[in-house]
């Protein structure tokens, strides 16, 4: 009993430090951003908002963003619900493979996807356009990627996995006897889908849809690569344009736009979690029997063809395009057998400038992942394993960071850590690492918290009562048990940090140019081949990361 005081102390200090760090690096920048948007030289003044929303370009960007995000949201749900049902609830052949392929675009950096679709569908030399012209003898390219439609297309393909994952998880959780009860009541499989499955899935569908909406609205890479050449501006690209102006006015206009985005995104997410906590039917269920798969009968192979077709278009086609382009000897000669070689690879892998960026990004990813995992462990421990009042506040702060659009985080860090508030991180690697941590720690906390909550408190108490300190208990008892989730949590920070573009693009300095930024520059300078080679390198690293992740967590967690 005597030893309980110092033990409590070490716990308290660790937790206090974590909370302070989170307040300083997540909450303060966002508050500073809001303050900056509302006060000019210390005087309350909404002229920033008036200026910004008084201009037609900005209105256009706003309506474009809303329009696009709505289209992408609706399209994603319409495409995803049947896919999730087919893969989760029927005897569709090859279900497991499809599941993996359908979530694969989740782990491909969005801008790589954009580069791929530009290669496939640009109006002058897009592979797919050329192919269709050849097949149907067309004079003109049938598709133009540099349009609202093209933008919506790429956004949908890359963000629908958010909806797919949300909806198919809910479908797996649903008690299958609810559907069987409808069948035995006389309802056909299709009518059951409509009367029971769909309404029960509605909260998850809405949640998945909102996730897609927010992701599409916050995305910078895809609109920058696909929209800009066609002069289509969205909120994120407007913010970046303002920032490129470099003057105070530009920054202030950017803050006004960013704060509007933040309010909408966080508001939607709050609505979503409220809705899920109040209307989540899927968790209500008694002891359920084995899921009974709907037999597709004569529809089995047609359904297979449709799903396979979608998988090919959504994932395999763009990936192949990138890989093939990287192995072309000369872009102008097209897809001829004698035009394949590693000619494009040699200058890239021997270029010290390029390779420096690759190693730099890997390094930043590692640093961010190590710091983030330690913090995430404390935050998760605090929220699931203690009963200190306010234990879930750090968790909430981390969620707030993750829910905030990247572009908003980047801007908040710029206005806060340029020296006006003590710390000056501008143009250092640390501002990049802080931004990665703010954005990506949340997934890591979730994963670790989930596994911590399965470690029973008695294991811990047994260690404490045998005289181990709290830190020692963490090291000896908790760590080994949650080790797989810690590795998973590490990768969940490392991977998106390593290929991050949106924030890096605003925060990098002359010595801290990251891989994502380099790739973005190459693409905008129309150096497609080097961009493809670097994209393939990124994809390889992501693939290796996922394989390790899969091994460590036995398939339970992947990106």
């Amino acid at each position: 009993m005597k030893k309980s005081l110092p033990r409590l102390d070490s716990k308290f200090i660790v937790i206090a430090i974590s909370v302070l760090l989170l307040l300083y690096f997540i909450v303060m920048p966002l508050l500073v951003l809001i303050y900056d948007s509302l006060f000019i030289n210390g005087v309350f003044d909404i002229s920033n908002y008036k200026d910004v929303y008084g201009k037609k370009v900005n209105w256009k960007a706003l309506t474009n963003t809303i329009q696009l995000s709505l289209i992408v949201m609706v399209a994603s749900v319409i495409v995803t619900f049947p896919l999730a049902w087919l893969v989760g609830r029927t005897d569709l052949p090859g279900k497991k493979t499809f599941r993996t392929v359908l979530v694969a675009s989740y782990m491909i950096p969005p801008y790589v996807g954009a580069i791929a679709w530009v290669q496939l569908l640009n109006p002058s030399v897009g592979y797919l356009n050329e192919f269709l012209k050849f097949i149907f003898g067309l004079q003109k390219a049938p598709f133009d990627i540099y349009t609202m439609g093209g933008l919506a297309w790429v956004l949908t393909l890359f963000y629908s996995p958010f909806a797919f994952i949300t909806i198919s998880r809910a479908m797996e959780k649903m008690d299958p006897t609810l559907e069987e009860a409808a069948r035995i009541s006389g309802s056909s499989p299709l009518k059951t889908l409509w009367d029971v499955t769909l309404p029960l899935m509605m909260p998850s569908i809405v949640a998945g849809g909102l996730l897609v909406f927010i992701a599409a609205a916050s995305c910078f890479g895809i609109p920058a690569i696909v929209g800009m050449p066609g002069n289509i501006e969205v909120m994120t690209t407007r913010i970046v344009t303002f920032l490129y102006m470099g003057d105070d006015k530009g920054i202030r206009d950017a803050t006004a736009l960013a704060v509007s985005m933040m309010v909408v995104a966080n508001g939607l997410l709050m609505f979503m979690s409220w809705m899920l906590s109040h209307k989540d039917y899927t968790t209500i269920s008694g002891k359920s029997t084995r899921p009974n798969m709907v037999e597709l009968g004569k529809w089995k192979w047609p359904a297979f063809a449709v799903v396979a077709g979608y998988a090919i278009i959504a994932v395999i086609l763009p990936l192949s395009s990138i890989v093939v382009t990287s192995f072309l000897v000369s872009m102008s000669k097209g897809l001829a057998l004698d035009n394949f070689g590693i000619d494009a690879w040699i200058p890239v892998v021997t270029s010290s400038q390029y390779m420096e960026s690759v190693w730099r990004s890997i390094g930043y990813g590692i640093v961010a992942a190590c710091i983030g995992t330690v913090l995430a462990l404390f935050v998760a421990y605090l929220s699931v394993k203690t009963n200190i009042t306010g234990r879930s506040i750090p968790d909430l702060l981390v969620v707030l960071g993750g829910a905030t659009p990247s572009i908003v985080i980047a801007l908040a860090l710029i206005v806060t850590f340029s020296g006006n508030y003590g710390l000056n991180l501008y143009s250092t690697m640390w501002i990049l690492i802080v931004s990665y941590l703010v954005k990506y720690m949340t997934m890591s906390v979730r994963t670790i918290a989930a596994s911590l909550s399965q470690v029973h408190i008695s294991l811990e108490e047994a260690a404490l009562s045998s005289g181990a300190s709290w830190i020692r208990t963490c090291k000896d008892i908790i760590m080994p048990l949650v080790a797989p989730s810690i590795v998973a949590g590490w990768f969940l920070i490392f991977m998106p940090s390593f290929y991050e573009l949106t924030m890096s693009n605003l925060l990098y300095g002359s010595d801290t140019k990251s891989l994502g930024v380099l790739l973005y520059e190459l693409q905008t300078y129309a150096d497609t081949q080097n961009a493809s080679v670097l994209s393939v390198i990124i994809l390889l690293i992501v693939l290796i990361g996922n394989i390790i992740l899969n091994k460590v967590t036995k398939g339970k967690v992947s990106i």
Partner: protein
């Protein structure tokens, strides 16, 4: 109309035989229970009748209509079988209120709204849920949800009702009263019922006939009284009620207790060689003065309305249950005498 026939029904999962050679003819209006330990194939059989599983072999008929014929590869879809079913997990739809849940089967049949409401209310009256008609399932207790499920299964007046352990999630008191409600409703509607349970008292009190199953095989089909007093084999005797097994040897028309050849019993089944004698604890009379078998009092457990004794007879411990407060009548170590009122005999390892 609703005779149900299962002929040579098998269900295999890979090389696991979940159900093997199930045969039964259920008469119209009969209440049948499937009783057996966990994993014996009760649910699987019920789901084959409902149409959620396809038998690997055999034919299922309702009346003279085949609803499932594995040889012909013919399986009528569940929604076309006209069966009512109550699931163990209730399976009440959380997004519909009580009226909509119960009215759903009628809605599928395009019964007009007014008529539907009338029938639903009748059904709710029957299960005592009238005042809960407008509620959502999340505002109901487990027992109330179970009654919604029952009303929904009955509303379309199916001639066959399947219930899979419908009471196992309820507390003991509620279970008891629901038992009588289900029986009463069944009598009133004259419906054929297949009732899956692993609770023998449920099966005994409610059923016309019980099907005792073990490891995918039907062990015995019979009336509760016959199952209890004339179990077909050692497994059934063991599963239904309490029983003492005493090793014995059968010779001619007598069966001799092992360890004391002086004690023997008739051999109506004409067994030969190694056998087992079975006596239920409450079918033994205990006395101080004399009886068939002599033993020594080993232990006594006071149970309130009865006493549970352990008596050592030769090398065997025999359990004896006597009604009333006889706890102090006997002392441990005292010599006592047992009279067996009903001795059953089985071949060994039957």
């Amino acid at each position: 109309m609703a005779e149900l026939k299962l002929q040579h029904i098998y269900k295999r999962y890979g090389n696991v035989t979940a159900v093997g050679d199930f045969n039964i003819e259920v008469a119209d209006g009969e209440f049948i229970s499937f009783l057996g330990p966990s994993g014996c194939g009760k649910t699987t059989t019920l789901r084959m009748i409902a149409g959620f599983e396809k038998p690997s072999e055999g034919v299922i008929m309702i009346g003279d209509q085949e609803i499932s014929n594995a040889e012909k590869g013919y399986f009528l879809a569940p929604e076309k079988r006209g069966i009512g079913m109550v699931f163990q997990s209730y399976a009440v739809w959380p997004h519909m209120n009580v009226i909509d849940n119960v009215g759903y089967p009628l809605k599928i049949q395009n019964v007009p709204k007014e008529e539907r409401l009338k029938q639903v209310m009748e059904m709710l009256e029957l299960v005592h849920l009238k005042e809960y008609a407008e509620r959502l399932p999340s505002q109901l207790s487990g027992g109330q949800q179970q009654r919604v499920a029952l009303a929904r299964a009955l509303v379309a007046k199916p001639s066959l009702l399947l219930l899979d352990e419908p009471l196992s999630n309820l507390d003991a008191k509620l279970r008891e009263s629901m038992r009588f409600e289900i029986s009463a409703i069944q009598k009133e509607m004259g419906i054929t019922v297949i009732y899956v349970t692993h609770d023998q008292s449920e099966a005994m009190t409610m059923s016309d006939r019980i099907v005792v199953m073990s490891m995918g095989k039907v062990q015995q089909i019979g009336k509760p009284y016959d199952i209890y007093t004339k179990p077909a084999n050692q497994m059934v005797a063991d599963f239904i009620g309490l029983v003492n097994f005493i090793p014995a040897t059968a010779k001619g028309d007598r069966i001799f207790m092992q360890g004391d050849e002086a004690i023997s019993f008739p051999n109506p089944k004409k067994l030969a060689g190694e056998a087992v004698l079975a006596v239920r604890p409450e079918q033994i009379t205990l006395s101080k003065t004399g009886g068939m078998v002599e033993g020594v009092m080993n232990h006594r457990f006071y149970m309130g309305d009865s006493v549970d004794y352990r008596v050592k007879v030769k090398d065997h411990i025999v359990r004896v249950i006597q009604k009333g407060a006889g706890y102090n009548t006997y002392q441990d170590g005292e010599t006592v005498y047992l009279d067996f009122d009903n001795v059953m005999s089985f071949a060994k390892d039957e």
